[in-house]
């Protein structure tokens, strides 16, 4: 249980960093932390202490194995996260070229 709580704290740290920090690069890092917290949460869902990987082996029958479904999902989720992070970094670089700053408070041309 405490693992799950730690995982949620990590998620909250990531979201806090994404929404509150002023520096664009720190926001990117915050998004990364939030994503990895969710990935960790999924892996914990399938984890069982002392269990093995569910591999089909003709020589022996594995009875105690971890749930492979969340792991398969997380592979997809990691790839999506990579895409979003790459796009975000690209936008941050272009923003720096236009505004010459990473400070979100100075990037405010859209008002109203």
């Amino acid at each position: 249980m405490s693992l799950y709580v730690l995982c949620f704290i990590l998620f909250a740290i990531g979201i806090y960093c994404l929404l509150v920090k002023k520096n664009l690069v720190k926001k990117v890092v915050g998004l990364g932390i939030a994503e990895y917290a969710i990935n960790l949460f999924f892996i914990l869902l399938g984890y069982r202490p002392g269990a093995e990987a569910p591999i089909l082996d003709p020589n022996r029958v594995i009875t105690d194995f971890v749930d492979p479904l969340p792991q398969a999902l997380i592979l997809t989720s990691i790839v999506i996260g990579l895409g979003v992070t790459a796009l975000m970094v690209a936008i941050v670089v272009r923003l720096y070229e236009k505004y010459k700053t990473f400070d979100i408070d100075e990037i405010r041309r859209l008002r109203g």
């Binding site: 994503e35 749930d67 999506i80 979003v84 975000m88 041309r109 859209l110």
Partner: protein
């Protein structure tokens, strides 16, 4: 036949950069073939549905194990929304996109967006829905930034940050449901939840889902990004964002999760109706002071999405039908208005209403179609917006939600005032400095606008046959609630 809605746009997105390398013209042709064939298949899907629910098993695996694609009434409605607006926006892009430098990438992203939207609508698996939602999101973030000017990048960054917060909340909710029921098929989740109830967990998941999808659809406490992101995109993309993306990613997914998976109750109903009422009122109040044409339209999107969520949140048959009908109508007239604003910007190079004027003589077709769209959104009979607003208002009074009913009426009045302002300043008053070189926009842009305007009028005149054909089956899917599981799993 169902995977075709994902295969066509995804294949076109793959071929697009190659076509662009060969000749620029190929992209235009390929993208429009993609759009029109999707439109054809989605019109056909009304006919497919007549013989009952259609399910496609991916790889032949049966539901609890494999991913399935489902075609039911709600899916047909959303496919129509996505593909009518998608094909018209692609048609409009033929002439509009000439002012950008790399049309091949624009069309690639646009086709990816269509693939994501169609996939979300047709998927019967919760994680698969999330994957398509992320495809849609990434395509729309990058299309908002497509102009790569300072304002566009800023809007795209804001949209990306809030959009990824929403995605992570949704993924967290999916994970928690998965931990409890150990399955991802929507129908199977619904069945497992009814067998082993876990009210605390469901309550928590519901909160995460509502927050995530409300952020994606720009309902009022979560609306900060919308008014920046929608005006920043190229005009056909703004039409897609306001007309389709916020509805598919927000309202459709929310309805599917709340009604068919978790189950509707009075607490959810009050949350949705209050979100709707607040969005309606605040959206229109923010809109009325705007002088930027597209920004004004973006604020009206918030307000009109409020109508949709309010109608669906009432939970009565009439309310749900009205909400879904308004969803369809709003996609028609709001896309048309965004295309109009794109034409105005294309010809005059400005979107400031106070600098425009006298366009009705120089751009007669744009002016006439925008009049149709303005009257539709303001709810003037017999145009389509009138009937759906009327249904929502009647449903509100029937459900004894008097506050909501009166707010609906008041917001309709303010919307009318706001669009009279648009008509007066942009099209009808005398221009201060008359510039004679303003011309009507090229043929394909006109064609897309005229088709949408004709649809607005036609659906207004024949609204009852249309309700019977498309809206009622869609409303029935939501009304049958968690019985959805039985019809899919066949138990």
């Amino acid at each position: 036949m169902l995977p075709i809605f994902v295969i066509i746009p995804l294949g076109c997105a793959f071929l697009m950069p190659i076509a662009g390398k060969l000749r620029q013209g190929f992209c235009q042709v390929l993208a429009n073939i993609c759009g029109l064939s999707l439109l054809f298949f989605s019109l056909n899907s009304i006919h497919w549905l007549k013989s009952g629910l259609k399910i496609y098993y991916l790889g032949g695996w049966q539901p609890p194990f494999g991913i399935c694609m489902v075609l039911d009434g709600l899916t047909v409605l959303m496919l129509l929304v996505v593909n009518i607006i998608g094909s018209m926006s692609l048609l409009y892009s033929v002439d509009y996109i000439r002012k950008f430098t790399s049309p091949a990438f624009y069309y690639t992203l646009f086709c990816l967006l269509l693939a994501g939207l169609n996939g979300m609508v047709i998927s019967g698996d919760l994680f698969n829905l999330f994957v398509f939602l992320e495809i849609t999101s990434i395509a729309s973030y990058s299309l908002v930034a497509f102009g790569t000017e300072a304002e566009e990048l800023e809007a795209a960054f804001k949209y990306l940050v809030l959009g990824s917060v929403a995605s992570s909340l949704i993924l967290l909710a999916i994970g928690m449901l998965l931990g409890h029921v150990s399955t991802l098929n929507m129908a199977d989740i619904s069945r497992s939840l009814s067998n082993s109830a876990a009210p605390d967990l469901v309550f928590y998941c519901l909160a995460l889902f509502i927050a995530g999808f409300a952020l994606k659809s720009g309902l009022v406490p979560f609306h900060a990004w919308l008014a920046d992101a929608h005006p920043a995109a190229p005009a056909p993309m703004s039409a897609m964002l306001s007309g389709v993306v916020i509805k598919t990613m927000g309202v459709y997914a929310l309805c599917r999760v709340i009604f068919n998976i978790i189950g509707f109750n009075s607490a959810v109903s009050s949350v949705l109706t209050w979100l709707g009422i607040i969005s309606m009122a605040i959206g229109v109040l923010l809109a009325i002071g705007q002088w930027d044409f597209k920004r004004l339209l973006a604020y009206h999107s918030i307000s009109q999405i409020g109508y949709v969520v309010f109608g669906i949140g009432l939970g009565t048959p009439l309310g749900i039908a009205g909400g879904l009908f308004h969803l369809f109508n709003h996609s028609l007239f709001k896309s048309l208005l965004f295309l109009n604003s794109g034409s105005v910007e294309f010809s005059t190079a400005t979107r400031r209403l106070d600098k425009l004027g006298g366009l009705s003589s120089q751009m007669p077709v744009t002016s006439a179609t925008s009049l149709v769209a303005s009257l539709s959104i303001a709810g003037i009979p017999p145009l389509c917006g009138f009937w759906s607003k009327l249904l929502i208002i009647i449903a509100a009074f029937q459900a004894n939600n008097f506050i909501g009913g009166w707010v609906c009426i008041a917001v309709a009045m303010v919307t009318l005032a706001s669009f009279l302002k648009v008509q007066k300043y942009a099209f009808n008053r005398k221009a201060k400095e008359v510039s004679s070189n303003i011309k009507e926009v090229p043929f394909f842009m006109l064609l897309a606008m005229v088709v949408l305007a004709i649809l607005c009028i036609a659906i207004g005149l024949w609204f009852w046959p249309f309700m019977e054909l498309v809206i009622t089956p869609a409303a029935n899917v939501l009304l049958e609630g968690t019985n959805y599981a039985k019809s899919i799993l066949g138990v």
